[in-house]
Amino acid sequence: MNRRDVIKGLGLSLGYVVATPAIVGMLHGCKTDANQWTPIFFTFEEGTVIRNLIDIMLPKTEATPGALEVNVPEFLDLYAFKVYTPEQQNKHKEDIQEIINELLGSRTRMSKLKAEDYETFLFKYLKADKIAQTSFKNNQIENTVFNALMNLRNTSVWAYKTSELIGETVLAYAPIPGKQQGCISLDEATGGKAWSL
């Protein structure tokens, strides 16, 4: 059973409010889904965690596709494999390991992780206010995890926005604009969306 069928089968509403974590845990044990992707840079475990995190960061909603639909984890895996220097690759691996360790906490196995655990974990770091962000700096592990998650989120945003589906059908796409207007209403220009190119 693939992941999409699982979602359909669950009949979950994926609107603005209900995010995907509710199903993350269920997908965890979904072997056929995980088998579809064999990461080339990440280990299977790392790939699974990254996939789950990215799914919560940029979930599918009624309005727009989610990051998994445009293969963000697969792209970031390929990117780390082909673009990063060996030093960057090592650092990246270490960062991901820190994320996994912190996420696991006292649990021994990933299969013990529940959807709420991912949500709680991301909430702590990516919804942190300025004061909390500053306090991370005083704790080496927290600091590493915070920076690694920010990096994962920012590269995911980039990969999401530069994907074909988002670039051509969600963002305002004009391969040959033909004219230039410097200052017009946002509505008139794109109907409120950002330009994709």
Partner: protein, 565 residues
Amino acid sequence: MSNKEQYDAIVIGTGVSGGWAAKELCENGLKTLVLERGPMVQHINDYTTMFLDPWDFELRGEASLEEAKRQEKQARTGYVTDKAYSHFFVDDIQHPYNETKRFDWIRGYHVGGRSLTWGRQSYRLSDIDFTANKKEGIGIDWPIRYKDISPWYDYVEEYIGVSGEKLGLPQLPDGIFGPPMELNCVEEHLKESLFENFDDRVLTIGRVAHITSDKQFIGRSKCQYRNRCMRGCPFGAYFSSNSSTLPAAERTKNMIIRPNSIVHEIIYDENLKRATGVKIIDANTKEEIEFKAKIIFCCASTVPTTAILMQSKSDRFPNGLGNDSGELGHNIMDHHIDAGASGRFDGFKDKYFTGRRPNGIYIPRFRNLGDKKTEKKEFLRGYGYQGGGGRWSMPEETAKLGYGAEFKEKILEPGDWRLSLDGFGECLPYHENKMTLDYNNLDEWGLPTVTFDAEWKENELTMRKDMVSQAVEMLEKAGFKDIKTHDIEAAPGIGIHEMGTARMGRDPKTSILNEFNQIHTVPNVYVTDGSCMTSSGTQNPSLTYMAITARAANHAAKQFRNNKF
């Protein structure tokens, strides 16, 4: 091997200067051999990436580690190694050079040269520039003044198409312009603020070599605002040799173009006291060939032209062709850039723009223009600002959301407005800033490699502080927030405006070239690329190279008709 055929002229190089030399010489009826060290790039046909979107590239345009290793020096720019145009920049392993001091030598070897990838900013020098060295006792005096080159600026602008706004400023003479591109909301706001708060400076849209008028250009059409210029433009909307001057030369049927031809020496005849031809190595077969001609135009770009002259040794010129002064290879200049500031503007949230404008803003020089108001004692000369505004930064409210459904929808909307100002500063000519040849380190064709030994000095470094502080002051007065300064003290070369290593002058004892760009002592050799520059100005120099080349080529054609060579 010697080629029996005698040409009227040989042009070395096909960038902005070579293209113009080819066009003017051919249109004057001279049978012209155009030599280019790199491969052919056919207009449109060879623009392999011109229609690709980010997602069409495997890594969204990023080079793989393996590819990046071959362009480590080109990558110092931070942008030219993008897969959209990295093939128009050299392989650093195949084309090595040496750095006594760091020098970022960014270039492409192919037909069209950097005319394909240039920034297209097109500004005239003024008499403030042409007289500065003389007034201040720096370097040597230019042998020309604005009136000598002004008609050639007209001629070139008319032909290439330059979009821009007339300002009536003495330091930045107006030209012949097509309609200007539009400022966006924050740029317009800054322009109005400068008008209200400063009496010494103005903001204008960049003057840029793009067609924006309805005037007819052969084989070229109007800018479509794709901003994919560096890949080669299928519309021929910006000026390049490939879209404009080389086709013009071709139409005369007087041009023979030979790519893959590495010129390494100009042949000098001691009896005739003239150059008689050039020696090349075929880049692919490594075969040595000689070509003969009455006139030689050196347009290989500053550093390669200088290297060719240095390698052209004879009993008469043991230190390189025309190098009686010892100045060949010295006085290398660039513009010093990457100093300025950027800020966020909290307003115009309901405003946006259409089209990807291939152009930025310009704040012309406002320091040391010869009057009390603009005098700045801490440094000589001045700088202009380039930059621009856009809605690209993640708003704080979005960043606060952190992640999730709402966050995702927000990142699909335009970001905050930000505007950036970056100084382009004049660099003085220093004799000790130089390039030399290293005969112990040869390239794969057995030719000596170039060694750079140049640096920014006190005048440039002091000027940079003003570049930063004035940018901050302008942004603050216009109500920008979150102002961030930058002063990336990179090495020379990063402006990609190498200049000055075979300078023009009045005296063979202190310069290489005369007022028509002829080598003083070998008048049938003309040098019309950036190496001829006696000072750097603050303006992007390509338009000046084109005007100087057109002027020199018409001078050469006249001499040729009068049997002077």
